[in-house]
Amino acid sequence: MDLTRLEINRRTALLTSAAIAANVINPMQAFAQETPRKGGVFNVHYGAEQRQLNPSIQASTGVYIIGGKIQENLVDLDANGQPVGVLAESWEATPDGKTVIFKLRQGITWHDGKPFTSADVEFTAMNMWKKILNYGSTLQLFLTAVETPDAHTAIFKYERPMPLNLLLRALPDLGYVSAKHLYESGDIRQNPTNLAPVGTGPFKFVKYERGQYVIADRNENYWRPNAPYLDRIVWRVITDRAAAAAQMEAGELHYSPYSGLTISDLARLGKDKRFIVSTKGNEGNARTNTLEFNFRRKELSDIKVRRAIAHAINVPFFIDNFLGDFAKLGTGPIPSTSADFYPGANTPQYPYDKAKAAALLDEAGFKAGRGGTRFSLKLLPAPWGEDISLWSTFIQQSLGEIGIPVEIVRNDGGGFLKQVYDEHAFDIATGWHQYRNDPAVSTTVWYRSGQPKGAPWTNQWGWEDKNVDKTIDDAATEVDPAKRKALYAQFVKEVNTELPVWMPIEQIFVTTITAKARNHSNTPRWGSTSWHDLWLSA
């Protein structure tokens, strides 16, 4: 296979498209003259059922897509990615960063009629976010107490400084509030409310038929005036991606979130006027494709070998031919969609250069032996998506060309996590790194040493770097936003130099939605938000 053929100047193409994107004014204004229509049922593709629906105890898109309409968070992100109050009206932090005061909105009631107060926030923060919620437990590790001087003030007390911009960018995902009166007795994980959620949101839970559908109806007492517009949302459980595409076409589904259809169906429906296929509204759910190295293999503990492997893979070619418009060249762990932290591409990069790769391997002492083989590797791809499968085959073929035969070992989800992050039974692995709007939420754990064995998506590479650890720790408690940004730029520079994990592709989830939908995809995590302003035109 000749990988150099078909290569185009990707960088120029990207810069041009970024410039165009920057010039587009809010496309929602095009609909401004239309009068919002009340009513209608919105049918949503629900690809993977979860064990429960409460976003206060599980941070994943599979929960937000349903629970995020029923329960609400303290803050969310606005169209420009800036924090905007939902249940919280305003906030401020003391200069030492150890106290954050939230003023809560008044006059809000839970779906069962009880009033929403600061006691609910205190209960959820201390018992769910700090103890159960994935990523929440790390974020709130140094939260010591939440004081509630009155029913609409919640004062978060931290043992160490908590950067306000970190908290506000993490809370849209990790700040959903649950009702204290429904959870205060018994085991929170076993509470039946988790499967019949009660919240303050624009839609009220009606019914969950496992394996079939979830239904929620409009909340007549919702606190935002004139909202919501829809009468009902129905989430239909459809596990087969091709069948989901057919249901979109048959008009049974209005919306398939988070790249829920196959790459070829996305391309096909994108040409159909009845649908809008776009990455818009998913900027807050960016991810990067990874290549994770196991330093327990002596070849891979050599920096020259890791760099050689990166140089041997023609990423722009792969993106152009396999992922199309839905991906772009990545430059490290912080994706370009992160306006607050993206350090630019001016960090060590590894452009495709087969000759350089071979030279580096020779230099490291791994000369081609008989049959051109240097050493062989075992690659474990994660089963999360079609792109990972394609990417792992591409890695296999690319490394084969520089004399490193690769054996691909496929597992399902549980098996992959066990073998990579617990048993370390891999040489190289590839999957997704999810970026959650601030590097301290779920990015730096990929590099910080001292992660307990078995913690998925963390540094399990057998690699440790004191400088990187220090940068990560300093940034996590730095309260000055400008200094934090500089620290994370330094962090990207350091990890791109050492390359324990290579993150060469950036992706944003792809949304497929009916062209009749209005006010959709207007915030960076739209699929997860409450849809209080979503409406369907006739």
Partner: protein, 325 residues
């Protein structure tokens, strides 16, 4: 009384098999890397090690494997299938919820395949090596060779997307609440495409078997006798040949009841039916041992009872079978 005796003997013979199957599946799943907590982490997109440890304790995964197996078998003796970790409720109620779609789909497609297999098999045998035979055999081969997911998807594209005659998936309409006969009709319309998809593959097998078996019986001496005494061909076929030719078909039903439970995973996924096949698949991916073992248990019971009924039909079709056994 004889039937009860037969039933008792059958049941006694299947209990050791059942226990061996359950232990086998339990051990096989231990070989799969990862447990239900890993699967849960995969689904959640992350979690810390302390939470994982706590969850393992919660699901009883901190015990040794023999202890877990012992616990399971002891519960089974008391007819308790345990607690499902993905559904958070007793396995028995999870399975009971999922059983009706599976049984409906299985019965419908088996009946479809059996009936049309029989009819086409007879037609093909009577016109052997002439055009009806060639046509039927070719079509049969095509159905048999086509993967069921493709069939299903094409059926959705043609009948739901273009013609809009039938719903593209689901078990019943969620938009409107129906009762009585309207609900039955609604469910039936949802099951037409899945039944055809699952049934067509089996149809091919039935018609091949029926054709071969008819041809064999048609050449036997007693058929020649029947013809010699002046019976017309239709009477010969319906009264003398069919009954004997049916035996291998009945055997096949018994064998395929099990296959159909497994084969429905694909059809259930394509048509988003909430059946047992999809539940089994999910339990494997989620490493929900209790649910999976529960499904194996229930499926084994189903297969055993289908085979029992098959034995009764045998006896009815050919009295020599009970006389000898």
């Amino acid at each position: 009384m004889r039937i009860l005796g037969l039933a008792g003997r059958r049941l006694a013979a299947s209990i050791p098999t059942l226990i061996l199957i359950l232990i086998g599946v339990f051990l096989l799943l231990q070989f799969a890397p990862g447990d239900t907590v890993d699967a849960m982490m995969a689904q959640m997109g992350g979690g810390d090690a302390a939470t994982a440890k706590e969850l393992r304790k919660f699901y009883g995964l901190d015990l040794s494997i023999p202890a877990q197996l012992g616990n399971y078998l002891w519960r089974l003796v008391r007819l308790d299938l345990g607690f499902s970790s993905i559904y958070g409720k007793p396995v028995s109620s999870v399975i009971i919820e999922r059983l009706p779609p599976t049984i409906l789909l299985m019965t419908a497609s088996l009946s479809f395949a059996f009936f049309f297999g029989l009819v086409f098999g007879v037609i093909a045998a009577r016109g052997v090596n002439r055009w009806p035979d060639t046509l039927i055999s070719t079509l049969g081969l095509i159905f048999y060779a086509t993967p069921s997911f493709w069939f299903g998807l094409m059926a959705i594209v043609v009948f739901s997307v273009y013609l809009q005659w039938l719903p593209p998936g689901g078990f019943e309409d969620i938009g409107t609440v129906r009762t009585g006969i309207w609900r039955v009709l609604d469910i039936a319309s949802h099951l037409v495409l899945p039944t055809l998809t699952l049934g067509l593959i089996f149809l091919a097998i039935y018609l091949r078997i029926m054709r071969a078996s008819m041809l064999e019986v048609l050449n036997l001496d007693y058929v020649r006798t029947a013809r010699a005494k002046g019976l017309d061909e239709t009477r010969v076929v319906t009264r003398h040949v069919l009954r004997n030719a049916l035996l291998p078909m009945v055997t096949l039903i018994g064998l395929q009841a099990g296959t159909m439970l497994g084969g429905s995973v694909v059809v259930e996924s394509v048509f988003s039916l909430p059946g047992l096949g999809r539940l089994a698949y999910e339990s494997v991916v989620q490493r929900d041992l209790n649910t999976l073992l529960g499904i194996v248990f229930v499926s084994a019971l189903l297969v055993i009872s289908v085979n029992f009924v098959v034995d009764l039909i045998y006896a009815r079709l050919d009295p020599r079978i009970t006389a000898g056994g």
